[in-house]
Amino acid sequence: MASHWPTIGCGVGLRTEHYETITRDWPSMDWFEAISENFMDSAGRPLHVLEQVRQRYPVALHGVSLSIGSTDPLNPSYLQRLKALADRIDPAIVSDHLCWTGVDGQNLHDLLPLPFTEEAVQHIAGRVEQVQAFLGRRILLENVSTYVTYRHSTMPEWEFLTAIAQRSGCGILLDLNNIYVNAYNHQFDPYDYLRHIPRELVGQFHLAGHTDCGGYLFDTHSAPVIEPVWAMYRWALQHWGPVTTLIEWDESIPPFARLVEEADKARAIYVEVCGTDQPVSPPLASPRR
């Protein structure tokens, strides 16, 4: 079954360090990902840059603070601001993470791990439905890197992720590096994870680098994608066909040209494996110039 999600090629994150280069050169790039919170609370330069970028490229909004797994109520102010930004930017994709970020009104500013239980599936699927109804669009949820697991989990991570997507109607943003990190940290086969994800749920890939902290891997987004993760990417494209792809690089951010190299590498694999000359599907290929 084919994915219903738009295919907009291989993009990179829109980061402050690159604003000047991007708005001066308007480089060749399939699309940009914007961190929602960096723009939904700002009417200054960040939003101005994002609007300029949106005039020329497809954009995806990727959030870090939805806290879909929290047992606190959903934050109506957050949702209103996210909806206002989405209505203004008209993104190809809106996504966040399958995690919780705070409880009892306090925010821990991290993508915190959930126990993989039926209680959590039911709780989160219901909240995703509320969010999608409010935003008037389907969202993607991303699998996160984790450093602990819970004894009372009753299912593997891939089953948890799939169950929430199937019950709520949301899609999956599959971070292949996070799967690799978790596979190392929690000792499972990353290809077991991939083999259990239904293709029709996958709307996007994230590719990133991580750091070996001795005893565990840490998802730092501070380095190039490693070869085993490129191999997982190749496998995923071979089995699932074209999927929108993002190169993430958020720490020790290199010059924009280095990011372009990494996106070009992803694009070359994408084109080779999927047998298409252009990784971008026609309806979204034309920039809004």
Partner: protein, 257 residues
């Protein structure tokens, strides 16, 4: 033993991440799987460390000059103490430092740099101005149309980007030196009060020195005072010049009778 609920897990995890993190280790041992050869609860340090690191990074971004003045080590201590005293209630990390100016007033090391609370107030104003939604300003014609008899009772609304900070210290000079090497900064801080206006012009945040009388009038107007109350001092000529300046810069957004 009954399985913990999702809420139980989250409340307990919060105690392990937010400073002063720790305690309830036996529960951690029961709820978390070992990770390779490491007890699960020991891995929680990744999250506890990450919380402090993110708070410190965010505070250093907003309070660049405070960070520069106190140096890396003292700033790390400041960020840790602040995070312990002021848990974040904001989903946006950029705003988690809103209480730092007040916190600095009671921070023991402020005795070494007594201008820190005012410097932080200035930097918070800059942060607010950077993100503010600018409103259409009133023009000189609208001001000129006010009947002279109404002037005393007028109140004014200003752009959300506008703030002013009055300090007994040269905070604008210190703020402007934030990108110079510390050893190259030689600012005489004694007996040099400064009053600073913060606002945004287009996409650019500006910080400018104010005349003390202008600062007092502007402060009162920003706090909602009527013009008659705010202008107990200052000549008509000075007042006219200030209003011309504020109007030319688009700082006033509404007039209220």
């Amino acid at each position: 033993m009954a399985e913990p609920s999702l809420r139980d897990v989250q409340r307990w995890m919060k105690t392990q991440i937010q400073p002063p993190a720790g305690g309830a280790v036996r529960a951690a041992q029961q709820w978390l799987n070992p990770q390779r050869d490491t007890p699960g609860f020991e891995r929680l340090h990744v999250y506890a460390h990450g919380y402090l690191a993110r708070m410190q990074e965010s505070l250093a971004e907003v309070y660049e000059a405070v960070h520069h003045v106190v140096g890396e080590q003292a700033f790390a201590g400041l960020a840790g103490a602040y995070a312990a005293r002021h848990p974040s209630h904001d989903y946006n990390l950029s705003f988690a430092g809103r209480s730092l100016p007040e916190f600095l007033a009671a921070w023991p090391r402020t005795a070494q740099w007594p201008f820190l609370p005012d410097l932080a107030r200035l930097e918070w104003g800059v942060c607010q101005a950077f993100h503010a939604q600018l409103q259409p300003p009133v023009d000189a014609g609208q001001l000129a149309s006010v009947a002279p008899s109404d002037w005393e009772r007028m109140r004014f609304a200003f752009q959300p980007s506008v703030s002013c900070v009055a300090s007994a210290w040269p905070i604008l000079d210190i703020w402007e030196a934030r990108q110079r090497p510390r050893q190259a900064i030689d600012i005489d801080v004694v007996g040099r009060p400064q009053q600073v206006l913060v606002f945004r012009e287009g996409l650019t945040v500006r910080c400018e020195l104010l005349d003390p009388a202008e600062q007092r009038v502007l402060r009162a107007l920003l706090d909602g005072a009527m013009l008659g109350e705010a202008c107990a001092e200052g000549s008509a000529e000075a007042l006219s010049a200030w209003f011309n300046q504020w109007t030319r810069r688009g700082l006033i957004t509404a007039l209220h009778l």
